[in-house]
Subunit: 408 residues, 2 copies
Amino acid sequence: MNDTWKDYVIATYRLAASGDLAKKAETIALGMTVGSWTGLPAARQEALDRHAGRVVTVEGNLIRIAYPLTNLTPDLPALLTCTFGKLSMDGKIRLVDLTLPPHFAAAFAGPKLGVEGVRERTGVHGRPLLMSIFKSCLGLTLTELAEGFFPQALGGVDLIKDDEIFFNDSEAPFERRLEACLRAGERARRETGQAVLYAINLTGPVHQLPEKARRAVRLGANALLINVLPYGFDLLQRLSEDPEITVPLVAHPALAGAMYPSGDYGIAAPLLLGTLMRLAGADLVLFPSPYGGMALERSEALDLASRLKDKTRLPCLPAFPVPSAGIHPGLVPHIMDDFGFDVVINAGGGIHGHPGGAAAGGRAFRAAIAASVAGVPLEQAAAGSSDLRAALDQWGSDKARIPKEFPI
Amino acid sequence: MNDTWKDYVIATYRLAASGDLAKKAETIALGMTVGSWTGLPAARQEALDRHAGRVVTVEGNLIRIAYPLTNLTPDLPALLTCTFGKLSMDGKIRLVDLTLPPHFAAAFAGPKLGVEGVRERTGVHGRPLLMSIFKSCLGLTLTELAEGFFPQALGGVDLIKDDEIFFNDSEAPFERRLEACLRAGERARRETGQAVLYAINLTGPVHQLPEKARRAVRLGANALLINVLPYGFDLLQRLSEDPEITVPLVAHPALAGAMYPSGDYGIAAPLLLGTLMRLAGADLVLFPSPYGGMALERSEALDLASRLKDKTRLPCLPAFPVPSAGIHPGLVPHIMDDFGFDVVINAGGGIHGHPGGAAAGGRAFRAAIAASVAGVPLEQAAAGSSDLRAALDQWGSDKARIPKEFPI
């Protein structure tokens, strides 16, 4: 970023309208900050000058506006309200990007653990992580939940993600569910030697969630799942900066599709689920993979992941990308080609739908991951893993044949 | 609502895709609740039955799905995640409506004061209320803020709305700003005999905002402005249900345009800013008027307002619609035609841009309101009010000539 803008956040917008965009840009720069200059005495204009937005560039349908840091506080409600709050309602306009000067970005919470911290918690250093989607949980008793948890853990997954729609937990209350699943994970660990993290869904009145999270951590919780957009980005930031909440924060993208898919409106997915999730403090971020039925375009998914991981883009720790939906073992080499080594392989149907059951599904993934890390083709590795063989027979390994799958 | 669905929330979606929507509807009903039935033993299917979503209707591009209340808790994060969370990312699909059975809707906070409560607080019973938009506030000292507040209050407005982008208030800290503006309002009251509410912008870490709001109320705050979407709907609900927060909650629509304007994606404006804001507890809801440059379609704006006010639609108290942007005195009869008697007339440029200044701007509006309530044409009323005369000369009274205006 040019030194001229070292004390500004630069917002990039795409406008659908043609016409005088230079004039429109001026209207936005002032309208979103100090209002109109018209009729103000010179002394007042001078005092307001350091609060006024500036037009950086107008190129084609893209305009870039610089907002003074002095108008902002380092949190997402301020950043979003000041750059896109009322402007979002001003016709066909889309927030494409936000560029924060490093000293301002550093004031956000960012991930507490990041990629390395999560690797330490899981004890996994030589390969991508494997996460299992725990579906469906609704209506299960504690015993049934533990029975569902155990085979997933037994298959060698590193994390198990709670159902994000688990709100009414009267039949499996939060603390007792945590205890039951942790115990099932411990039982699996005695067989496999491997620990598993359980990202339990954090729900309740928003202002009580930091205290609920602290209590969960005291009870042994080792990860938390958060519906970041339904609760607001600020909750994530306050969980991340809380010194007593020492566990990985797993961000679910629920509701994101209400904001990113339109070309004319909303907030671009790489910004919304990449930059902003990382700034607010997610250690892992789920987003639609470019493979499944619920897909992001490949270029967008890769851009999103790069915003989560790239150390040159933000001063905070990198977060794990978790491309989700449509994932089965045959895809593992493609995922590593696309997203690199620091990625979480996340599967629902690709684990639970394995013909040998969830444990076999996990083992098939682990075999695919080990092979891909070693550079061994899956077909060759399947000779030594009947679970992988069965997965490849069921789902193939050709991206073009990836089945449509619904869950994240 | 049919008695069959008395224990369900019904979501209406519009899909852009053609094809087998009946099958798609089934996939959504199960995928958003219990997951797939495939391969489950009969006993398990039976146990899950009461948690499964149901297809209500498939008509053209509209599908309606019923979600069992037993999956939900009465709060907006649960409602939105369970009806549109991951589904929002599933291609071209838009959440058009949510219908809640009255006993479930009654469990939400809803407005604490509602239309009648706000009328009591302001002492205004015989006419629409008048609100002034306090722009711009950035960079002003406490003295300057008080100087800006006073003439607005002097003109006879009932509420003054803080600038919603007021986050970094280091030059005019929240509590001192509150005190300075309340004092300016009190000074005006001694001249006009009329009280004014100051909706101060509530900002800070989301989990601390209920306590900050309680402290503000103890210090004399008489209204609060909330950026509901940037902070998440749940904050509004927790403020509304807090017994110590006894003042009107004014909901700003910042960021709403990231969600409602696309025809293919997102959440319809009447649902987002009408039904959901009221459920969560807003006493007043700002939304783009159908008149200004930042406009909702008239039918949408009217539907939105009806969802805020109609007692047959929701069991909670009615809230005030505040159609905003592009409002000047000549519009008052049109606003009352469109939105009725229980409406808040909200103006920025239409008050501050009056040739006689903000106090004259307020008086022009009050004259227009008094005339419209009495059924007197504005041109006739202007004979008795030089302020209204000047406003009509500046802005006219013809909807077709309404100037484009940016601020809300």
